[in-house]
């Protein structure tokens, strides 16, 4: 039902939200020895969910370990610059998707009210 109303944007929002959690986890673990930063390959996840997988399955399949520019001595692969950029990019993507959804909701509610 929600798929037919929101099209690609419903899934996209779900994936963006999952990715935001993952990136926040990376930022939280910036000082944890041995922590390996992860990220969702958004394009791959979206493609896979369009092929019929649920958002959860798609996100899990597209979750990859980050390749660090310079690995640190304690085995931690979180690089603040990378994580912050990814987080900002993801937040903007989330916002964009959200405005598509808002517009869709507005269209439908206007059609229902008839004014």
């Amino acid at each position: 039902m929600s798929d037919s109303i929101f099209g690609i944007h419903g899934t996209a929002l779900e994936l963006r939200s999952q990715r935001m959690g993952l990136l926040a986890s990376n930022i939280a673990n910036a000082a944890t020895p041995g922590y390996k930063a992860r990220d969702i390959d958004f394009a791959a996840a979206l493609k896979s969910s369009m092929a019929g997988n649920t958002a959860d399955q798609a996100a899990n399949a597209a979750t990859l370990y980050r390749v660090p520019v310079m690995p640190s001595l304690d085995g931690n692969t979180v690089e603040m610059a990378t994580e912050q950029t990814a987080f900002a990019e993801n937040a903007v993507g989330y916002s964009a998707t959200l405005s598509f959804i808002k517009a869709r909701v507005e269209t439908l509610s206007r059609a229902m009210k008839g004014d």
């Binding site: 926040a24 930022i27 000082a31 979750t63 987080f87 959200l98």
Partner: protein, 130 residues
């Protein structure tokens, strides 16, 4: 576990780390009469705390560890705490290292706060769809 739990625990962990650095700095220069009794700097060591259900991972303080560094022996016979040979033992605190530790910790704390603010704002916007 949700994003708020992740951020809250991460911030608490950084706070523990900052407190440890502050304690070390506060004890820099403190002396004792025997090497064993000297203050040893503390360090908080973090560990990942993965929530299998959501895939989110937060931080916990795995433990506080005391530095193995030897107390600095100094000849100071006028000190009332000096031992029979006139030596006192100073806490082996590296003030520069502590300052760096504190700075790094506060930066990471700030980072987490900013990420949380952005996430919270997006969540609120999502709720306001009508």
């Amino acid at each position: 576990m949700n994003l708020f739990t992740v951020a809250q625990r991460a911030m608490s962990s950084q706070l523990v780390r900052m407190n440890a650095a502050a304690s070390n700095l506060a004890n820099a220069g403190s002396v004792t009469g025997d090497a064993a009794g000297a203050y040893r700097p503390m360090r908080a060591v973090f560990a990942q705390d993965l929530d299998q259900a959501t895939g989110l991972s937060t931080v916990r303080v795995q433990g506080m560890y005391r530095s193995e560094a030897e107390a600095v022996k100094r000849y100071d016979p006028g000190n009332p705490l000096a031992d029979a040979e006139g030596n006192v033992f100073e806490a082996p605190v590296d003030q520069n290292a502590e300052m760096v530790e504190m700075l790094e910790s506060s930066r990471q704390y700030q980072n987490m706060v900013e990420a949380l603010q952005t996430a919270k704002q997006l969540m609120l916007e999502t709720m306001r769809i009508k």
